[in-house]
Symmetry: D3
Subunit: 339 residues, 6 copies
């Protein structure tokens, strides 16, 4: 069991299936956010996980906190304050109709964090991993500065840093992203991102054609090698999604440790119950493998299987055990009833 710290925003998620957001008369309620999702997923893999964030002192902030506690995440470093909880509305797509997200996260408690809100020296004491994503750095100047601060402390304290680039075009431009993200890369040990992320955040050019649902594994090698050389990552990994439709995806992963390229098994996921949070599960799997397996092939296989399972569960959180992931890795995706 390792100690893992993640830092970012937790939002209220309001979703609707089979209908448009415009005509919804009920919303399903859950809470989610990239870094919180990683804390939850790694908790289910039996690590001690700390989520660091800021939540408003109202019913929704309390609801977000309770949601994390239910999953067993340690919340003692979550600050209470600020104006509001960020919200996102999710119209869950189906077949040819893609999912749609309407963000209402401006001015959230977390994005307005002060520079001294989080005692990172104390928080990171004894930690094995500090994890952040490019969403946090995109939220506000302070958030980016806080990530930089945490990274520096982590480096100083010997805590490894994991970063999921996670480019969000609704939050910032490529230029803004690169200006913030590139200087942070010097602190990163494990770098995770898909083709688009490498291009937008670091200025690299993968050749995968996302829309058509094809992925070019070969194209990644060049990028991964360059990234490792440029920034000294210990490991680079990417999930590769083939988007056949909103209900049907192909899913695999690639990992490069500076010596060898590892490509995972490929999964065909149909139907997709909820793909939100699958990238976070992939990152969680990479971190888990890095900490526990000492086997790169097993690591990428685990990360891909764990995140493939996430697609079958409602909500942002991936509530699967290591045992369930192993079962799928070992070839049982047959979906037979266990009885």
């Amino acid at each position: 069991m390792s100690k893992i710290v993640t830092f970012g925003e937790l939002m209220l998620r309001l979703s609707i299936e089979k209908e448009r957001l415009e005509t919804a008369n009920k919303f399903d309620v859950c809470y989610g956010g990239g870094e919180a999702n990683v804390a939850v997923c790694l908790k289910h893999f039996n690590h001690e996980t700390f989520f660091v964030s800021k939540l408003p002192n109202n019913s929704l902030g309390n609801g977000a906190l309770a949601a994390l506690k239910r999953e067993g995440v340690n919340c003692k470093y979550i600050q209470i304050g600020g104006e509001r909880l960020g919200v996102y509305y999710l119209e869950v797509g189906s077949s040819l109709r893609g999912s749609k997200v309407v963000y209402d996260r401006a001015n959230s408690a977390f994005s307005n964090s002060s520079l001294d809100d989080y005692p990172f020296e104390e928080i990171l004491k004894g930690a094995d991993i500090f994890h952040f994503t490019g969403i946090t750095t995109a939220l506000s100047e302070n958030c980016a500065l806080l990530v930089e601060k945490a990274c520096k402390i982590a480096r100083k304290m010997g805590v490894l840093v994991s970063c999921d680039l996670n480019y969000r075009s609704k939050l910032w431009t490529k230029e803004q992203a690169q200006k913030v993200m590139i200087p942070l890369m010097q602190y990163v040990d494990i770098c995770i991102g898909n083709e688009e992320d490498f291009e937008s955040c670091l200025g690299y050019k993968p050749e995968a054609d996302i829309i058509k649902g094809k992925t070019d594994t070969a194209g990644y090698k060049h990028i991964f090698e360059k990234a490792l050389k440029d920034f000294g990552f210990k490991m680079v990994a990417s999930s590769l999604r083939e988007s056949f439709s909103a209900s049907h995806n192909g899913w695999k992963g690639l990992l490069f440790d500076g010596k060898q390229f590892y490509e995972s098994k490929h999964y065909d996921i149909q139907p997709i119950v909820d793909r939100v949070g699958s990238g976070d599960s992939f990152a969680s799997g990479i971190i888990h493998g890095f900490l526990c397996f000492n086997d790169m092939q097993k690591t990428i296989d685990f990360a891909v299987a764990a995140s493939a399972l996430k697609h079958t569960i409602f909500g942002d959180f991936n509530q699967v055990t290591e045992e369930e992931v192993f079962k799928l890795m070992n070839g049982d995706g047959s979906g037979r009833v266990v009885r």
Copy 2:
């Protein structure tokens, strides 16, 4: 059929019953706001009603618009633009546990309206009534200035002005309210408000003890007489709520036309399905009576019966017909099955 124009904010409402907001896994979705509620209610009384507002160009703005259209409200003067739709979360109370509202309405499209967003000369052409509430004026300086502008044009064009004082302590202080509201009173013909509103918005002192659920009709007479004299209102009206519990209220109304005091029949409402919007139904009933009845007693009786019925229907909107209100006024609150 008269033409009535109302001006204000429409919000997304997310509510939960029997549970706390913190533990909700579903929210019921509807849309509401004081002035929109009045436009809807008066439409059901067969008037042509125009709601004037600003909604963001996203799924939630579209959902709000569709909700109004379904009720038959004319939306041609609603502007599309701005950042976000205001939201409020409603924990529906029961018995000893009061309902709880969490507002998340800062920076809404409407509250950020520009001073030239609404062509009031065109909008008010041929109108019989222009209606606003103290919520609109509390939202922003621009909103208050827009109300003033509309009032001046209405006065110039011979359109009567109706105002529901509707003090909201979460939006502004009494001092702020009085600074804005008192100067607007010169344009108002029909003034509606409960005891607290008169005190907070206009500086008057009613003696009703709200918490204990008692109301002192006598105390109102003095205030009403003073208000009519101070501001030249044609009519002043107030609903009087006895709050026995979140599920059980007494309900009646008072009206003063400068000559005589009229007190309505008293209703005992138990259980309450949804009391949000009942004040707006009361205002709608007053306006309807003013326009159609030429009978002050009938007007206050209608307003009280219409708003009593609102308590029995989910949502902000009061979807009852004039015929249904008459049925209740005529003594049939027995709830017998019509078959």
Copy 3:
């Protein structure tokens, strides 16, 4: 355990709570109808009950049949055929807003029954009671003739006849009702009806003021005595409802056996979950008491307690046991948790 035969229409019921029918996006589905409700209720009191009717050969007819079978009613004499199943839409009222029924039952399979659809000689063999209501006789000329036919056969075979007058103003006028119902009364042994029924179906004048929620027990005595004398009933009974609101009723009953008047205990029912079918439960209780108790006071007390309990259960059907009714009769309406 007695054999009881009831004859009438079973309808699909589509209902909505807290909202208007106009805005419903879900309907709760159940099946119900006066005579079927009696068959179900008496089955729960452990009698062998046969419901005789006609249902269309489609999914809804099958659904109606399955609903009866679930309750244990013997359906072997239900004919399959005709065009459609009657439907009624129920807006469940609350407090001051009464429930509203929209009938869509014209041209139903049952109302279009042929005169030779039901082999009443066979059906009534060994029966103790044949029960019908004034709803059946109002549906069509054939239905009225079929009731007459069944009554004659019952009389011939020594089967006692029970009739719930059940006047429905949406189905026929008082004149039509009296023309059909008065001649049928010669066959009736147990006659059940409230004040309105006696007036509309038989031309009697009760003095109870239904709307105001007052009931005048005294006024009934005269009517009951006259009815017994006019038609030779063995027993006349009426439930008396005080309609304080759609959610709150008073409930008691009166019975006259030609010798003595019996008045039941009075129940205060608040809130009402579903009052549809309560009259049918009252009739069932009267029949059950008549067959099993040989005690008039116990009979009227049982009928009133059984039907009071019906108000607390969703749907037309009263799924309470004799034991549960006795518990309430014996004074335990305290609603304490049994654990």
Copy 4:
């Protein structure tokens, strides 16, 4: 923005998923009907659309009206009257179990329309398109006569006529259909129908084998050429469905403008959320393309993409924008999350 008038019946739809109609305890409620669906779909493509029909003066008629208003359809020519609203029950199929419809539409307000219920001269003034379907003409003799009347007036006023043949075997026989439909074809400018429709309504013989899910594009050419020659259509179009299962369809379209055959892109739709109304979306897309694109290939591609998207949304109504259809046409059916 064009003015489009559609004429037909709007029904209440009650549906259930995953279960049989017989065991449903809830129905999902919506409203739909071929011509209303076209009015709604074209409204979402920004046209001014008028739906002409007759609805009963009860809660369900009002509900139907409100549903249309919510979508922005102009309802000023809808007549209020008649006995009842038609209803259809929909058991939504899955995989090998096809969807099942139980109609209960006999004697509906619309089917009993009088010959002078609709002032077509006034209604069609300034219209660009008058649209009807073979469902309307099948409902009653009067309905067929009213369509004929409207067609004649349209022709006289220079309004183009669009007809979706839409053969329904539960409403009439082929012989009845041909007797009514063939004479009407002289007024039709745009004729839409699938293989079965051409055979049943006009007596043509397509060779597609519907059950086996194969479609023979070649077979259509002959029919389309003949139809254009026989009746002088400006355009003939058909959607082609490959029914692999209730949850998985192939979907494309064909269009002939007298000069050239255009075949659309093919879509694979899996899973299908709700295929009811997809044909109406196809017709809407054809009309929209005809009015706006002046490009036959773009027209058939648009119609097919618009109707493919319909399959992914609950209800009869297709609430997609022109922009969303263009996105799919341009190749993005990948269902990626937009965020």
Copy 5:
């Protein structure tokens, strides 16, 4: 119409979709169990079916009874008594996540049956088929003895015996199973089981690799021939499932009558709504074909089509008619809307 008797346990089933059991806030409720499912399915094929079991005298026992009655199963031989109703919790899988069952059935009323609880001489009088499964024999020693007793009486009375081997590894070991099941085989006329069942219950070795979703038809022939020779079965049949995922299965069947091997059509089922009970539907189809068709190919085709349809319906019970099965057998799995 034949008389069929089935003997076994009926359980309460509590299920959740799209979420894990751990986070469920609602459970869908139904009742099911192998032998009850057969009684229900064969009732829908118009046989008179008797389910023999023991249910506790509480609300859940009553609910189970009512569920069977709704389907038309004759329940007169169901004993009332014992401590509790067995329960199973079902997490419905999706795609790569298999369904998960948590049993809580120990100490159930049925498993604690006494040896003289069921008057099998009376029960089996006039019966055509007595059906049991290997689940019943695994529940307790008494249950196994009761099955033996029933089989002996059936044999004596000329009632044919059908057995679905149905091995459940959570209930017993292979050794235990074989010790009980092998001696019972002498009484069995129709033996049904998949590859795993033959191995676990009878010690045979099929070669199909279940996990990988491949099935080897050839491997079955040897086993079937041996089984017929060893035990004198009149017929052996097996369904063959290809488990591509929890949402997508291939499905076919094999039958051997001692003379010839019959292989059914193959079905591709996607998505799967509910696969629980599909094996019971297969057994029901075999029994139905055996009793009614006198055509082995038709029998295996019917059994496979009937059970394929079961996958599309919620719950343990297969509510499809013989007509619907024939429709699918005749090639219409296209899922087209019937309207």
Copy 6:
């Protein structure tokens, strides 16, 4: 903030409203149990609470654990093991129909606890209160012995012991109860129970007539004085419920500290959303007051107000804050909307 330890069983609760358990097609899911409820309630009053129990290693055990964690209860001393989670089914009553509980808790993991499952020396280190109820002691001999063990250790370590007598007639007889409970009383400092509990567990005779909904405050004084004298309690308290109906209760409390009798304010609760767990809230309030207020009147007022609020919230858990309880104590039970 004090440290409080509670010891007992946590069950799965499956409930249904408005319908009978027999006809439920959905159950609402939550978890609850007397001692867990106290741990949850006191956590919401800001204490550090530890719940000590045993849960099975399956999805339901995990669900129970997650439910506690969500509320913030420290679960580190919960053992994982045993066969099954106890379950109770709750038919929520209404008006005259009382709630009904069906227990299925035999053989639960907790009731089968071993005598060395819980390291009470470690658990109770630094604790302020150890709380148990008479439900725990009724579950099994081991459970009773474990309570005795914990009490002895608590006494030795100076931890105060609180006991809620909580007699459950479905679990044991009065004789059994008294045999176990009386000897335990020597360790108890705070004793809580209603009239029935004192009679059944300790052999005392209160005179309150529960069924009729009357309570005799005077009768309690004698019992309380005797109890204090007999067992040396520091404090005795009881809630007094007037059961007008399942939906309407009166509620107050009594406390005796050896010197003076304190009677709380009386609350009228109507409607009741969920009364399960209200007694546990009362106990929690007593403990909270004892630890924090040093004011007996305030203590009993707080306990009664806290538990009155519980009646308005779904589930066993009382999720109200100290601030909300104070608000009600200070007279605001008016249920006014806070906005």
